[in-house]
Symmetry: C2
Subunit: 719 residues, 2 copies
């Protein structure tokens, strides 16, 4: 890529960005759009535009707001997980900024002033265009100027260690502060018990569990909640809720229509076939019919569908924290414990999966992910080969008149080959999330971390390594065929060339990506369409603008990919550093606004995402250091061994961080849990917050649970 | 090795065994020897020869006794660790017995009846002697008879899985039964806390620790015992004890001599030089001088030499068990906890070592062990080369007259070359134990496990693999030089040959080894010599016959070596199976006697040695399976892939065992710790049992500890 096309690409991206910013500034001041641009504030009951700014709104006010917001504001509006995400963005921004400040003035002059016989590559073109002159590729073999690059490697590594260490410590403090808050948080009083062995005859699960824990914790045990098989009761509950919703909707329509005919619908498929009925009457009947059915199903579920998992509640945080970290049974694959996740993020269906089922599922999922990452091109290639225009006409003859139109043929001809790939890439995050849940993971936050890890491997392997190696092999396939030994020098000379590609890639990501993110064009359009054509009730409208959460499972792997690319090229092509810094700096700014105003977190894991990110940043650093070892080798630099200690230092750094901080992110330290509470916890409230909605609605079940409790005497000690 | 020399070797070993047995039968009935043959019974206050058998003792009575003793007897006389050792011996005996019963009648006829063109090896001798005909080597390549060997591999593996599983479960039950015993055991009420961070100014360590744990465990915390730097006080304490002992001794001599001169000695080096003093007066003076010095030193130690580790006591077993498994601090490399070892096996000097010091020491030790195992022949070779007779004469000229004598020259000439190796092998276990302690391990039992692991690698690598590969390479070095590809068939044909060597090796081990073990000739001779020439007081005599403990650190690796050898050759040369069975069966019998009557265990780890042994048995099985895969490959057996699943099954088996049982051997399960106690524990007694002897003697220190306690209010909550 030469300089002019590079600048063209950059300029295009920038223009799109400016347009999107102007759109945002204009659209966000319209009162009808507040639900799109300030949903988090609205849901929290705050005024979207604070105070006086409601009329004369400065289009850049959001920047000032983002900068002036403190970490505490973020935690208050969006929880610790969001605050940790900003620590991540800030840390990486810091790494690139400090690295850039030292490296650009040092490396660019050193590289550009090297006198070198102009190489001519196989295509006869000049191998060095203007951008490449700024990179390490411009240095001669054995050149003493490579010492500057050696210094740069150490500088980047040391800056990374230092900032990562500070960040880990900071995040650990954030987590501790949140966990020792004097507020009563239900999940801090509960543990999750799985793999409960078969009960001896005559005892219900509930009795078995209560007896067991009462004998171990005679003073702090409060109650247990046995996990039940809720499929059936859930179905009835959902049907009932749907009927209630439809009734409200029909009534609203009827009320608005005034003196119109009573609304009717057909009971069959999609309301298209079947008997015609009066809607309001029909739904009312359905509700009166379903309510006792639900109650009966709840009774049956609670009594007969108890499964081998339970939530156990304690009257003290320390007791729960200690219980979640201790083995309880002699056979340690039974009565396995875990600190309870928040009620809203429990994946109930995964709880009763047994220990070995979870293990097997995990390995099967790893294997599927491995296949997906390595060989996803094969099925996609096959599908692309078969979904050509002639094939489509043959298989779906009724499409023929449409496909014969010129314009449609041109568009389809252009996009059909990539269609499978586009659909695959769009569905991949959902697929990985599905796989992660299939592992038997008990909480959504954990599943998101697992999916994020899988996506990271996919993106690094396919985008970064794929582009680098693939591009080189493709460009110089014939040369390599002739002379297989030339592959390493080929790779080495192509590295800086790829750097230019990645420069534009990063720029595109932040200009267009953040532009779209901030302007929220897509949700805006969808909301207005829905509001106009579909929404009837208040609830419908509210659902139409529900902002959703930040989606760490795709967001973080994307950031990680940029981080990996920038870090790996930081010394080879230092020009990438400012681009990386802008990506993370701008990201910090844009998401500060989005987190404060838009997204509503769907769970709180108290920063457990951080160790996941930390490990991957260190892995990226390691990849950078190993790349540099290889590249110095290609440059035949005599003192290459001088950077051998770097990868080892990285491993030691990772080891020390993990030993010093990691376990606290897996479990709650007792010194943290032992802080005093503001008030004595209302244990009944704590317990009720964990009841799944399909069982929570009615009162009957609670009494039944109590029944089970009363069978067990307080002094029972043998299990 | 041909048949006749094999039988000669076997017969010699057997004759030695018979002689030793007769000696044992004769010597053990002499009343003067009871302290050598029944020390454990005597120390437990039991009659060495129960009831009527004191006079007309049947020389084989010990066999009946060994067989009739139950596991409970062993636990009562020698603890759970000994019982676990018998489970190990019994399990391996079972594996070899059941394997042998199926394999010998199947494989021997199949192997011996194979018609094969007689191979002639490079030396011109017949490659198959009579013993080799019984082995797999006698089977032709591609032979369908190899199916019998395939079946044998599966049989041996399945028998091993089944018996190991039963054994693990059994040992786990033994451990659980011991841990939930209603007796009060001091170590179950304590945890070991290490890596305590620097205390804030103005607070003593003691206050810091008490405040910290009181705020986390307001109800169950009892007291803490800060580890102190005892070097100085220990020195004074030992000096004092030595003086007291010498005083008793001198007084005994003086009393026995009746009207003899008052005993005197010189105060200088070894009593050879210096001022002559009256011994009784001198020691009395010394004691009156040292006693206040000790008290002063104790005060200083307890007050000023508190270190960053402590034992923390709880009033309940469950609290202590849960506390030992939970992280306490936000920075998880501080306040690290561990369940407390027994007081008698704590390695006090290792307790204050910091987390990272321990890690570094561990890796340094691993590296030293690696060097020792791989390259120990180099220094030994060098030393041997220099300690020749001429060199000795040159370096130590005063030895010349002795060395010039013919007989001494002959003996030295024969043994001098191996002298370094002999000394090395004798010192190796002690060296490995020293290294294991240097890792910073807090308890003797753990250090013994670590040393045992290291010794296992040494013996398997050097004896088993060394003999197999070394022997082959040495025998056919020239052939291999000519044709490097022939190394694999060479190794394969030499495998059965080595089997004969190992047969005699195993037989030697059990005949001579167990004969010496049972007859206790060496301790007997040493005891009688000491008694005659050195012992003056009762205490001296008691020390002279002190039996010591079983010494798992060398015993278990030796058994493991035999196990590995027998398992690996079980299918190739099935004749080794009865030898293996006899080794472990006879071992069970002999050690049943030794454990009941002789050895006194020096610690109790509640069977924590078992997982260590289990993993190594599975590793030996894996080695066997991989050897067989290779050997079938050499035999060019078409269906070799049929045994590929075996190693995978072994890995899965190891994984499941570890997941199901292992953690309980690392920590106490709470359901076990929650069993009721016979009586309310006397916490002061529990606490005092952990005081090191040099601090325990006096009362002063205790009050000082109490002083420190009283500074801290009960309601303190912030640390």
């Amino acid at each position: 890529m030469d300089l002019s096309s590079f600048i063209t690409s950059l300029a295009t991206s920038f223009i799109i960005f400016v347009i999107l910013m102007i759109l945002f500034a204009w659209l966000s001041t319209k009162p009808g759009n507040t639900v799109i641009y300030y949903p988090n504030r609205i849901l929290k009951g705050l005024d979207p535009w604070e105070g006086s700014r409601s009329k004369t709104r400065n289009p850049f006010a959001w920047i000032r707001e983002a900068f002036s917001s403190s970490e505490q504001d973020v935690i208050a509006m969006s929880g610790v997980d969001s605050a940790v995400y900003f620590v991540f963005l800030g840390t990486v921004f810091g790494i690139f900024l400090i690295s850039g400040i030292a490296l650009l003035p040092l490396l660019l002059p050193v590289n550009i002033t090297e006198k070198i016989a102009r190489l001519v590559d196989s295509t006869g073109k000049n191998a060095f265009d203007d951008l490449d002159k700024l990179s390490m590729a411009h240095l001669k073999e054995h050149s003493l100027r490579l010492w500057a690059s050696v210094f740069a490697c150490y500088w980047v590594s040391l800056v990374t260690y230092f900032l990562l260490w500070k960040a880990y410590n900071h995040v650990s403090n954030l987590r501790a502060a949140a966990l020792m808050s004097p507020e009563v948080k239900a999940e801090q009083f509960a543990i999750l018990v799985r793999d409960i062995p078969a009960s001896s005859e005559g005892y219900s699960r509930k009795e078995q569990i209560d007896t067991y824990f009462k004998s171990i914790y005679p003073e702090t045990f409060y109650k247990s909640l046995v996990v039940t098989e809720n499929k059936e009761v859930n179905k009835i509950h959902e049907e009932l809720e749907l009927c209630k919703k439809k009734l409200t909707r029909t009534e609203t329509i009827f009320a608005e229509a005034k003196d119109g005919p009573r609304p009717t619908h057909k009971t069959g498929f999609l309301g298209l076939v079947g008997k015609k009925v009066d809607s309001i009457e029909y739904y009312n009947e359905k509700i009166t019919e379903l309510t006792p059915k639900l109650e009966a199903a709840q009774k049956v579920t609670v009594k007969d569908k108890q499964q081998a998992a339970a939530l156990v509640f304690f009257t003290s945080r320390v007791a729960a924290a200690a219980a979640s970290q201790s083995i309880h049974a002699r056979l340690v694959d039974t009565w396995t414990v875990l600190s309870a996740p928040e009620p809203r993020q429990i994946i109930w269906t995964n709880l009763p999966k047994t220990f070995y089922a979870r293990e097997i599922r995990q390995y099967v999922v790893y294997f599927i992910v491995f296949l997906t990452i390595c060989f996803y091109m094969i099925p996609i290639g096959l599908i692309s080969a078969f979904t050509t225009l002639p094939n489509l006409k043959k298989l779906l003859p009724f499409l023929k008149p449409i496909l014969d139109q010129d314009i449609i043929r041109t568009v389809l001809g252009a996009y059909l080959p990539q269609l499978a790939l586009i659909i695959f890439l769009a569905l991949l995050p959902k697929f990985l999330m599905f796989l992660s849940k299939a592992e038997g993971i008990p909480s959504v936050s954990h599943a998101e971390r697992a999916a994020s890890g899988k996506y990271f491997y996919f993106s690094v392997l396919n985008v970064f390594i794929g582009v680098t190696i693939g591009g080189t092999l493709f460009d110089s396939f014939k040369d390599i065929q002739k002379n297989p030994d030339s592959i390493i020098p080929k790779l080495a000379t192509s590295l800086p060339g790829n750097a230019t590609f990645f420069l534009t890639f990063v720029a595109l990501k932040f200009f267009v990506g953040y532009g779209l993110e901030l302007s929220r064009l897509v949700p805006l359009i969808i909301f207005h369409l829905k509001k106009k054509y579909l929404c009837k009730t208040e609830l419908d409208i509210k659902e139409a603008w529900a902002p959703g959460h930040l989606g760490y499972a795709t967001k973080i792997p994307n950031d990680m990919l940029i981080l990996t690319i920038v870090l790996c090229y930081s010394v080879i092509a230092p020009l990438i550093l400012p681009f990386g810094a802008v990506y993370f700096g701008l990201g910090w700014l844009v998401f500060r606004n989005q987190v404060l105003n838009v997204y509503v977190p769907s769970y709180e894991s108290y920063g457990r995402m951080w160790p996941h990110m930390h490990v991957r940043i260190v892995a990226a650093l390691l990849l950078f250091q190993l790349t540099m070892v290889g590249y110095f080798g290609v440059k035949q630099f005599y003192y290459t061994p001088i950077i051998f200690p770097l990868p080892i230092i990285s491993l030691i750094f990772a080891f020390i961080c993990s030993k010093k901080f990691y376990k606290f992110f897996e479990a709650t330290a007792l010194e943290v849990a032992s802080r005093e509470l503001k008030e004595t916890p209302n244990m009944d409230l704590v317990y009720r917050s964990f009841l799944p909605p399909c069982l929570n609605a009615e009162k009957g079940d609670e009494e039944q649970f109590d029944d089970a409790v009363s069978h067990v005497s307080r002094t029972a000690s043998n299990v």
